[in-house]
Symmetry: C2
DNA sequence: CTGTTAGCGCCTTCAA
DNA sequence: TTGAAGGCGCTAACAG
């Protein structure tokens, strides 16, 4: 119920009638005679001894803890990432600290700077915006760090990035292949990491596939509400397809389409990005570009572990390829090939 | 980029020409002369000194860390909880460790037992099943713990619980009020914490409101797929309303209804439980019983902090009242009163 | 193979 | 008000 006096190493040693060093050795699997081993184990068991993580980490200089920083713990966009990071980190024998920057740059920086107190051995951060202050904080960080996103090439930091431009093109190609040509693009704020990348992807695909005929819209945020808000303007153009910069925006658009009696996918195809769990949940299911958030999370965790193992290794960048998950929102009945 | 030698207290002391004790005092806001304070601060700044969290926690016996254990990090059912816990914990100056039991009792127990190494000051656990082994692990735990769920009254542990029976009744009453009488209930596995409670709530409401005419179904899991799987059997009875034991099941039912051309809410009302973020996202919006997961998370965090502050206080149980969020899935157009 | 000992970096009596 | 010194619990030389 409440914390009482925990047994210590020396108590175990006393009970076993051996030195603390011997206990430590047995516990850490270092050479010891069979007899010693049994005596120590017996004492450990009878006392219910567990080594103190605090003392151990002070001595060995490691905490066995890693931090994951995301803008919003509850956002479905990050759940795939969180799950994957949690799994890899745990398998490697580390604990995971979850920090949220509450979508505030200042908070993200505070978290990064706070790491200098050494409460964890490394950090994975998925910053909402890749601004100078964040990059500065990363530079002065004395701990291993991995960025999920695309820092300037000049910054020597491990990073895992999605190829959102390729993802957008995948979606565009799919829409064109299924006969859509009046395509609207609904982006979120273009001063964010995802915003700029997805805009670039659309511009490129638009030029290549539609001779620049695509319509661009920028919602106030990457949220369902922002999607609903802007949907009116978007649908007034009577597009035959809407490509949204993330699933949440797409859900917002779908709701407005639904209330206007516009049938998806017959009258209007809708495609999202991120392929969140929700995309498979709504009716009709939302076709979405999967940017490999799980893969990126796992890759980031592995990069971090690699750097911790070898701090001198050169900074590495991993790019995860996107794929398209086709569901009902963009095709009448048949299922197109996936990935 | 990589961790290099961090300055220590004694280095600061040397630079300032004072003793380590004085530096410690200044840093911890204990009485010190103005001159001493300025000298120390100067030295701290010039060295970029940050106290070592590991050493500090060894000395003071606290880690300033709390653990939250949930069955699945990515499940939308837990996002409200996580967000609320994260916020309260952070405001109190603690860091949050996120552990997932991967929906395995054994893993949850391992996490609880692992806490005896003292890597955190307390734990909040939302166990999937309230089984003996979990309760045993809680009993032998030497750290403050708060359970989200309903342990047997005899177990003296702080707990925060939802009143799911009341929630189910709320939903039933709403359906009856809006003219539905052929009501089907789709539960998940009844050997889980939510399963039993929701079953009890339905049975009670069914007796009271429908004279026991309600149909009961048990899906294989609390998932969308399980909902889709069982939806066929459920809809074959031609109910005019389906109450689902959680939102995910409801989404599954809605998808099948949609593909069968059954209109929601005109032909069929659908109500879920949990009021996840997704409920507001789908079209039509899903009416859902909100069991106050955010409120429960916040309450749990506060209980934990209270117990840490006073380990002797008697165990407390907090019950959070449910409310109904009415959306389109259960009412043609108008919005009924909320909460 | 085992025991002794010196810290890891910090806080906190205890004297001065 | 300030300094000296002793641990918190553990690991890692170093002797034996």
């Amino acid at each position: 119920m409440t914390l009482s006096a925990r047994p210590t190493l020396s108590q175990v040693a006393d009970l076993a009638g051996v030195s603390v060093a011997s206990v430590s050795r047995v516990l850490n699997g270092l050479p010891a005679s069979p007899e010693m081993t049994t005596r120590v184990r017996a004492a450990v068991d009878s006392l219910g001894y567990t080594p103190d993580a605090r003392a151990r980490s002070l001595k060995v200089g490691r905490t066995e803890q890693l931090v994951l920083v995301v803008p919003d713990v509850g956002n479905p966009v990050y759940t795939g990432l969180m799950r994957a990071v949690a799994a890899v980190v745990k398998d490697a024998g580390y604990r995971l600290l979850l920090s949220t920057g509450n979508s505030e740059v200042a908070e993200e920086i505070a978290i990064l700077d706070g790491l200098s107190s050494g409460y964890a051995d490394g950090v994975i951060i998925s910053p909402l915006r890749m601004t100078e202050p964040i990059l500065d904080a990363l530079q002065r960080l004395r701990h291993p760090a991995v960025v999920i996103g695309t820092p300037p090439a000049a910054v020597p930091v491990d990073a895992v990035q999605a190829d959102s431009a390729a993802g957008v093109e995948l979606a565009m190609q799919h829409l064109v292949n299924t006969g859509r040509h009046r395509i609207a693009f609904v982006n979120g704020p273009v001063d964010t990491v995802p915003g700029v990348a997805r805009q670039r992807g659309f511009d490129r695909a638009d030029t290549r596939l539609l001779a620049g005929a695509g319509r661009r819209h920028a919602a106030a945020a990457f949220t369902v509400d922002a999607g609903r808000e802007i949907a009116g303007r978007v649908l007034d153009d009577r597009p035959d397809a809407v490509l949204c910069a993330n699933d949440l925006l797409a859900f917002g658009v779908m709701r407005v389409a639904h209330s206007r009696g516009i049938r998806v996918p017959d009258d209007l195809a809708v495609v999202g990005i991120d392929d969140t769990d929700l995309a498979a949940v709504v009716s009709p299911g939302l076709t979405s570009v999967n940017l490999g958030s799980g893969e990126r999370g796992a890759a980031a965790a592995r990069l971090l572990l690699a750097r911790i193992a070898d701090p001198e290794r050169p900074a590495e960048r991993v790019v995860v390829d996107p794929w398209l998950t086709v569901r009902e929102s963009s095709t009448p009945a048949r299922q197109e090939g996936v990935r």
